[in-house]
Amino acid sequence: MANVITTPTRSTEQEPERLTGIFAKLRILSAAARYDVSCASSGSSRKSAPGSLGNVAASGICHSWAADGRCISLLKVLFTNYCAYDCAYCMNRRSNDIERASFTPEELAELTISFYRRNYIEGLFLSSGILGNPDYTMELLIRSVRLLREVHRFSGYIHLKGIPGADPALLFEAGSLVDRMSLNLELPSQSSLQLLAPDKSKEQILLPMSRIRDWHREHHPLKNGPSLLTSHASVSGPMQPCKPVAQASAFVPGGQSTQIIIGASPEDDRQILTLSENLYKKMQLKRVYYSAYIQYNHDSRLPEFQQPPLLREHRLYQADWLLRFYHFSVAELFENGAPSLDSDLDPKIMWALRHPEMFPVDVNRADFAMLLRVPGLGMISAQRIVRARRAGKLSYSDLIKLGVVLKRARFFLLAPGSTNTDLGLDPQLLRRRLLASEPGVIKPIQLSLNDVPGFQPEIWKSAVTGQL
């Protein structure tokens, strides 16, 4: 009887203490992770096995939106914000005097599961400061992830940061447990990296990236072109997997991503996008994220900003979409123009205005690739047009019925019923008309009589009353 009473009282004494500990850790370590912009839970697909928890939807699911308007899909935390490095731009750098904390793998796994079961999240995004050395940190991350997958039988999404400089065998082990891996490039050039992140080097980041790519290629030969190796007999050397993978699809099914900070270093848009293009083509990355630099450290090596360059970040994302889904190349985008993107108009219009000879595009004849190049037409509109015109010729009013947004596209599309005054405009005039319809650029103002030059209020009064 005594036992029955004492056990609960002891646990209730410990419970609040344990809870406040977890609270502080979660607060510190999620705040420390918030500048990592990656949030995607897409690109991978995991089916739930009997007796296991969760699955991964290929489309990705947003579960909430934070006060900054960014989607919350994953429990995004650092394992620890203790860090051996001293990168100029980073809030968690060694020389900053901030609150530090560290999860244990057990705490982290429990937290993830309790959130997941309530449908708060799609999975876990786990990054970390460098605790001691890269290998030790990587081992801790692997332990946490392994606990989730093997003890809690968690089949939800896991995005893990690779720690630059960690042993390749550890990277491989991690890769066979998670859906997506990423190593952050952070700065777009070797020289900026040397200046601002002296503990890291470009090779340290790109080498693991290319290794993961090669392992990934081996495990998904159909998805990623020819395998690098001609036969499995030639497996040898330090670049090879340390043990065979159980399932063919088990190695980072969601691919890799990276992040670049915008505005902390002098590179222009063209350089940044060329880097992204190379990462997509040569490293087969799924995503490059851009993060407008936000000032939290005062450092002579860094520029001083009042406002983070959010518009520039937005334009870079738009251009990034053109590279990935609309078959544009960086060389095309910046052909005969400045090496930076137009801040007033989106990159597709910028390109279209430099190529008036390509337009107008005939809605009923143009191929899919050309429709995708029309400003204002997205993937869905272009698909609808291609499908609907099989059933019959499309007129301008049909386009409206299809749900195509014609605000910008009307200047570039030729369809029976489109107005002549919109087509064949010279680029200068077109630019002005487009800007006029862009919100916030030129705002129409109600004219007032007082604005008319030479207007005298007294005369107006007498004109109304009729008295001189």
């Binding site: 308007g69 960014r70 989607c71 309530r118 708060y120 059933a391």
Partner: protein
């Protein structure tokens, strides 16, 4: 005048419609058996089906009625549009299916046709809301391994939302309660079912629930980047009508 009556389920609607569609005709009116406002001046030529059980699986099978020209996509569009519960949806579905039969397939390419456009728009609205709730639905623990979620969706999304959570949380028991319609989906680790006239009083949370909710609120607050505060965007992504059932508190 031909006024059709059906039991309120999609399967029931199609059952009474099929004889008309096969003759290439449209009924003059279709109404639910328990419709609040019976049609005026309607001489009764009743055709009632005795199907009262809700059969989601059958509703998904386009082969069940063997209508020529009605493929999988057309069928799903009709079903999803039906779940929008818009007034007059029955007649709109009848017109859409009749067109599909006339065209002998490929009706969904006629996107500029008003009959097709209406159904596609409603179907998109329903599937969009389902996708929203895949993320915005919040379970609370109300007992050992038993979870409860409450929603008030614009459309009747429960039949298409529940299968998603069956796959995702196959090892926990749960209830999703549609407060607006007083209907609930229940899953007991083996099968799921929809029950009507679900009670409206909220079940009591289990003891660890409060701490987990506070942890979630703590994460939700600290993940936002202060320098990029954008409450308008946040509200655009989670409209206020959904705030009531969320655990976290947006807008601050």
């Amino acid at each position: 005048m031909n006024i059709l009556r059906y039991d309120g389920s999609f399967y029931g609607l199609i059952s009474v419609l099929v004889p008309y569609l096969q003759r290439g005709q449209l009924p003059d009116g279709i109404e639910r058996e328990n419709a609040r406002q019976p049609m005026l001046f309607a001489p009764e030529e009743e055709q009632t089906t005795s199907l009262s059980s809700f059969s989601a699986d059958l509703a998904r099978d386009p082969q069940a009625f063997r209508l020529p020209g009605v493929g999988n996509e057309t069928w799903l569009n009709a079903w999803h549009a039906f779940l929008s519960e818009s007034p007059g949806i029955e007649q709109a579905i009848a017109r859409y299916l009749l067109l599909a039969i006339e065209k002998r397939g490929g009706v969904d390419s006629f996107m500029a046709d008003d009959r097709v456009r209406l159904i596609q728009r409603l179907a998109r609205r329903v599937t969009f809301e389902r996708h929203r709730f895949m993320g915005l639905l919040r379970f609370r623990s109300i007992g050992a391994d038993l979870y409860y979620a409450s929603i008030a969706s614009d459309n009747f999304i429960l039949p298409i939302l529940a299968p998603f959570f069956v796959k995702r949380f196959s090892d926990q028991q749960w209830i999703i309660h549609d407060r607006r319609r007083a209907i609930a989906a229940i899953y007991d680790r083996r099968t799921w079912t929809i029950i009507e006239r679900a009670a409206t009083d909220l079940p009591v949370d289990s003891p660890e629930e409060d701490a987990t909710q506070q942890l979630w609120q703590c994460f939700f607050d600290s993940i936002a980047v202060r320098e990029r505060l954008n409450l308008a965007l946040q509200q655009k992504c989670i409209p206020k009508k959904y705030w009531h059932d969320l655990i976290e508190k947006p807008g601050r």
